[in-house]
């Protein structure tokens, strides 16, 4: 399978900075996969995200989206249709006074036919569980609801890739659960490629693949079970392990034999029950 995103040895330095934010990063992302990107503050996560739909273009190296070079301005519109972004602050991403108008904003700008807009808006709102709120005023919604409207706005463009840059940082636990469930179902049910940037280890455990960035490069790359079994390496990179892994490590140190791949609370509880019985 051809990668939907191909990143070939890119570097990027912000104007006025003497240190590269990305420093020779190479990465392929396969279509339909769910990738979580972790890393300390300043490791280059958000800079990487902004390269995925040509908000930034590399100082050196190349990014290809569905085979299209992001530095070629002629590709810009096609790239932005394929890769949608959702950012941290839900209040900065809403443009209309009614939820369904907000979701329709991008396809209207793309010149999509009205009946097709109607179909896409309804489908997108249903997909994120916000259809019943379609006539509501966005500013009266909760944070998690606003983020789901922002995701629906991206879905209405019919993208192939959804990039979420710390979408839950400002949300309460219920809002976090809602947004993560929406992102996961888009990947699993609709085959959309999801790239989730996060500071919360527990948000990464359901991904197919976890990338850890450090100083603008990929330091670790693997399945969640492989990555989170490396406690020392993660701590050296200013990260931590999910609490399930911390518990299993503690129990194993006391002589139990539990698999470090039991990452969800449910899998962890099941493994403990099996070991005790």
């Amino acid at each position: 399978m051809d990668p939907i995103i191909r990143i070939n040895n890119i570097s990027y330095t912000y104007p006025g900075s003497d240190k590269p934010a990305l420093d020779g990063l190479t990465l392929d992302i396969l279509p339909g996969t769910f990738t979580a990107v972790l890393g300390s503050n300043g490791s280059g996560k958000s800079t990487l995200a902004k390269h995925l739909n040509a908000i930034l273009t590399p100082s050196a190296g190349k990014v290809y989206v569905d085979g299209m070079d992001t530095t070629d301005e002629g590709n810009l519109l096609a790239i932005r249709r394929r890769v949608g972004m959702v950012f941290q602050n839900p209040d900065n991403q809403i443009v209309a006074n009614v939820v369904e108008d907000d979701v329709a904003f991008a396809p209207e700008n793309l010149g999509v036919e009205p009946h097709e807009i109607r179909r896409r808006v309804d489908a997108a709102l249903r997909q994120v569980g916000m259809y019943e709120f379609r006539m509501h005023a966005p500013h009266l919604l909760s944070g998690g609801q606003k983020q789901r409207v922002a995701i629906a706005g991206v879905l209405a463009m019919d993208p192939e890739v959804l990039v979420l840059d710390e979408p839950t940082a400002m949300l309460d636990p219920r809002g976090r659960r809602e947004v993560l469930a929406a992102a996961e179902s888009l990947c699993r049910e609709r085959g959309i490629t999801v790239v989730l940037i996060t500071h919360h280890m527990d948000e990464a455990i359901r991904a197919d693949r976890v990338l850890v960035l450090d100083k603008g490069r990929i330091a670790l790359d693997g399945a969640p079970g492989e990555i989170f079994s490396q406690t020392a390496a993660l701590e050296a990179l200013r990260l931590t392990v999910p609490e399930t892994t911390a518990l299993i490590t503690r129990l194993n140190a006391a002589g139990m034999r539990l698999p470090t791949t039991a990452l969800t609370d449910e899998a962890c509880a099941a493994a403990i029950m099996e070991a005790l019985s």
Partner: protein
């Protein structure tokens, strides 16, 4: 005597208009000097509105706020006194840095207290050291700092006021795990050394469970108030108002549901590991 006392505190936004909204609804709460309290609740539960009354940024629609038994809204002088004694760090405080240098920014509060230069200098240096901000950045513009350093500078500006009560709204939002850990450790050390009261507003249960007392808000009211083990025992209620359990408490709940005989009140990793290991070899599994 309680340091802070809220009596029937109510706040109604846009009162008398069609947009009228009761943000907090008849809250009574006392906090003793030196307590560490986590105020938790879903978005829109009234947490931010509540803390804005503690240093008189908002005036109650009903009820009173007492500091050392005195109504903080009694006079201009008492309002001013409350602003100096209760330091509030709002969410993403780094957007509120405005002076030309980091030093001047941290010194802004102490200057308003009309302290002399050597005392201002001492306070700025101590506050910066407390939050882990190197004196080498004092002459730089706050805009040149990294995100984490800006956060520290903003918090140092409030610590330099040497308040009796430190209120922080989601102080670790957006920080990486090591940054989160470091900042929390420093804040709790400040509490230990100065004996100051800390009120942490958060919806991160792994932060909340480090405080000695949890106050849970929903729909403008206090719905739970107690030690972490008491509050986290109400797992169904916490989940239904949009909150979470700390992971160890959630895993303990799942283990109990699967038939494991774990003691109540487990919410830390240490206690959960201990309890599981105690059951090992006893044939404690379900049969």
């Amino acid at each position: 005597m309680s340091l802070i006392e809220l009596r029937g505190l109510t706040h109604i936004y846009s009162q008398g208009t069609p947009f009228e909204k009761t943000a907090i609804d008849g809250i009574s709460l006392t906090i003793d000097a030196g307590q560490t309290v986590a105020l938790i609740g879903h978005t829109g539960s009234g947490k931010s509105t509540l803390i804005s009354h503690l240093n008189a940024l908002l005036k109650p629609s009903g009820g009173t706020v007492l500091l050392d038994g005195q109504d903080i809204f009694a006079s201009k002088a008492s309002i001013r006194a409350a602003r100096f004694r209760v330091g509030v760090v709002f969410q993403y405080p780094e957007y509120q840095l405005f002076e030309e240098t980091v030093f001047a920014d941290i010194a802004y509060g102490p200057k308003n207290l009309k302290l002399d230069e050597p005392e201002i200098d001492r306070r700025v240096r101590e506050a910066a050291a407390f939050v882990g901000l190197d004196a080498g950045v004092f002459d730089r513009s706050p805009l040149e700092l990294s995100g984490g350093q800006k956060r520290r500078a903003a918090i140092a500006g409030v610590l330099a006021m040497e308040p009796d009560v430190l209120v922080l709204d989601e102080p670790t939002a957006g920080l990486d795990p090591a940054g989160r850990e470091d900042l929390l450790a420093r804040l709790f050390r400040w509490h230990e050394i100065r004996g100051a009261t800390i009120l942490l507003v958060t919806h991160d249960m792994s932060i909340a469970n480090r405080c000695e007392r949890l106050v849970v808000m929903a729909e403008g009211k206090i719905v739970l108030d107690g030690a972490p083990e008491e509050v986290f025992a109400h797992d169904g209620q916490l989940l239904s108002i949009g909150l979470d359990l700390p992971a160890p408490a959630h895993i303990a709940k799942l283990l109990r549901e699967r038939g494991l005989d774990l003691p109540a009140g487990i919410y830390t990793l240490d206690r959960l590991a201990e309890a599981i290991l105690a059951l090992r070899g006893k044939g404690a599994g379900p049969c």
